[in-house]
């Protein structure tokens, strides 16, 4: 779960990391009032969770009311990489002499946290990582001990941060680690961490992504998720149903049980010349209602031309799956999109007996099922 910039900055500021004066605004008037409070120049920043906001016109620096009004009118309501902008952060414009990068994430290869510092802040850090990996200093942290103060200092000195601000940067990094740890972060980043002419450091942007699996013990942050709703309507619906769902560009809808098997089904759709419309994992042990919900969701995606159902039962039972498919389809006078079903594993025979074969096409193997669904989709498009 990603926090919005304004939420992450609040979390950082509460922990003592310096952030610019800022106010959230949802209308042109609010933008003007906020700018008044803070004092020009201010930055007007779209609060949407997409990369490259600045390049896409989602961030504007303004000097006066006229410019502020214009920026607010441009940005509020704009569509930024498919996301509607309904909030902006109005923020003190900070004069800086230097832009640094600090971040904390989990290094899954090492199975331990890693803190990162670079003097090449203010740009896409993943590009820096690619072009010039040595420009980012990495310090692994033992999760049992947490980050020792010396580790923060060491990373900062190794990165070549100016000695005048090194202690402050080390302190920000350590606080960032402690936040990342205590708030169950997956990634925490400040890019850029600005250095001002009088050697102050200030977090000019803030990224804080939370481990979804730990939200149960972060009630305060889980609350922010509701606030920050937005984005794809189908993905939101999947969230409500508790499905693992990812929307894609194609036209073959895919439903299955188990992440690896569903991914494989996507791959096979591609392999046989089709194009997957989504990833939808119903999880283990799904009952009939859940299966019906899944089918309902995929039907409601206009891009979908055909659906392939691929279930290999372990704890999921074929008869339950068949019952759910029947339930979902029997409500239609006419089946909206052709559905191909492949059942294997636990109770697959019982499932096939139950399944209303007037409403679906049954195939015995994964390969056959996928090929059939691709054919159906091609027919629709043709």
């Amino acid at each position: 779960m990603k926090l919005h910039e304004y939420q992450a900055k609040q979390v950082f500021a509460d922990a003592g990391i310096p952030t610019p004066a800022a106010e959230l605004a949802e209308s042109v008037d609010e933008v003007l009032a906020a700018a008044e409070d803070i004092g020009y120049p201010v930055a007007v920043k779209a609060q949407v969770q997409v990369g490259g906001r600045g390049k896409a016109g989602g961030i504007k620096l303004v000097e006066n009311d006229d410019e502020a009004r214009e920026a607010a009118e441009d940005i509020l309501g704009m569509d930024l990489k498919g996301i509607h902008v309904d909030r902006v952060l109005v923020e003190e414009a900070v004069d800086f002499t230097n832009e640094l990068y600090v971040g904390v994430t989990m290094d899954r290869g090492e199975g331990k946290p890693v803190a990162m510092v670079s003097t090449r802040g203010g740009v896409n850090i993943e590009e820096v990582a690619e072009e010039d990996p040595d420009a980012i200093v990495r310090e692994h942290v033992d999760p049992a001990f947490g980050m020792h103060p010396y580790q923060a200092r060491k990373a900062v000195y190794e990165a070549g941060v100016d000695r005048a601000v090194a202690n402050d940067v080390a302190s920000v990094l350590r606080t960032l680690y402690q936040l990342w740890e205590s708030r169950d972060g997956s990634d925490a980043e400040i890019n850029p961490l600005m250095v001002t002419a009088d050697d102050e450091v200030i977090a000019a942007d803030a990224v804080m992504n939370i481990d979804e699996d730990a939200l149960f013990r972060q009630p305060e942050l889980a609350e922010m998720e509701d606030e920050s709703a937005g984005g794809d309507a189908l993905e939101q619906k999947a969230d409500e149903y508790g499905f693992d769902y990812v929307r894609l560009d194609g036209n073959v809808g895919i439903i299955g049980n188990g992440a690896g098997l569903v991914m494989t089904t996507l791959d096979l759709v591609d392999h046989y010349g089709g194009s997957p419309a989504n990833f939808l994992d119903v999880g283990g042990g799904a009952k009939a209602e859940r299966i019906a919900n899944a089918l309902d969701m995929v039907f409601s995606d206009d891009n979908v031309d055909s659906v392939v159902f691929n279930i290999f039962g372990g704890i999921t039972r074929g008869d339950e799956v068949a019952r759910g498919i029947n339930e979902a389809l029997e409500q239609f006078d006419e089946i909206p999109k052709p559905v191909v079903v492949r059942l294997a594993g636990t109770n697959w025979e019982e499932g096939l007996e139950i399944l209303n074969e007037d409403l679906v096409t049954v195939e015995q193997t994964l390969e056959d099922a996928v090929q059939r669904a691709v054919e159906y989709a091609e027919e629709v498009e043709a």
Binding site: P113, E126, D142, P143, D184, V246, T264, D267, I315, E367
Partner: protein, 289 residues
Amino acid sequence: MSVLVDDDTRVIVQGITGGEGKFHAEQMIEYGTNVVAGAVPGKGGQEVDGVPVYDTVEGAAREEDADASVIFVPPAFAGDAVFEALDAPIDLAVAITEGIPTQDMAKVNKRLGEVDTRLIGPNCPGIITPGEAKLGILPGNIFSSGNVGLVSRSGTLTYQVVDNLTDRGLGQTTAIGIGGDPIIGTDFVDALELFEADEDTEAVAMCGEIGGEDEEQAAKYIAEHMDTPVAGFIAGRTAPPGKRMGHAGAIVSGSGTGTAESKINALNDAGVPVGDTPEEVADHIEDLL
């Protein structure tokens, strides 16, 4: 022969009084697994299907001379349950639970470096030696005894591949589901080492997926250390970057690491044929035997 578990393995079920724990304990017993104890705080002294329950894993391990534990404990408490198993101590812990916070697993990972216990999982279907013992939730009936080792990051994909193998009479020595989380106890290299050392395993099927660099490391290990032939499969060729495909670990990062392409290339470079479909994996295994 087999790796890690056989019919002598004495198994504890952590969480045996919960719905899932009870159901799968029964399934394990039915399959012939030697389930000797349950461990549930506050439920010591009870019995579940004739299996005595203890308050602590240490008590269960000591009293019943157990050497393995399967963990069915809700995610909020599962990290602690794994620690309890590691410290009991026992030889093998299998964590089925999905959704353990990553930071809990990072701490477990640190502890794993200090003890001799092996952990499989979490977020995995478990391990099975066909005809002898299963520790986890794998459907026993699709497996058959034979000479193919299987290691996989995924559950149902494993069943699919096993089905393809069993269909053409290719039985398994042991199948290990290592789990789909970013931080896991036993990785591909660990599992491959075990199969390489097992006399009866004559070929290994390895099912990877996008995310991380485990498959790349496995390819390196295969090239440098393995005589036993390996065939591979990688799920997630069509997955877009930045999207988590179900498994917490199955994600291609924005910077492009963890792609299926990189993994397939690495395996091919190590002489490992990679199937485009699960069926093709069975084809390759047949060729390699």
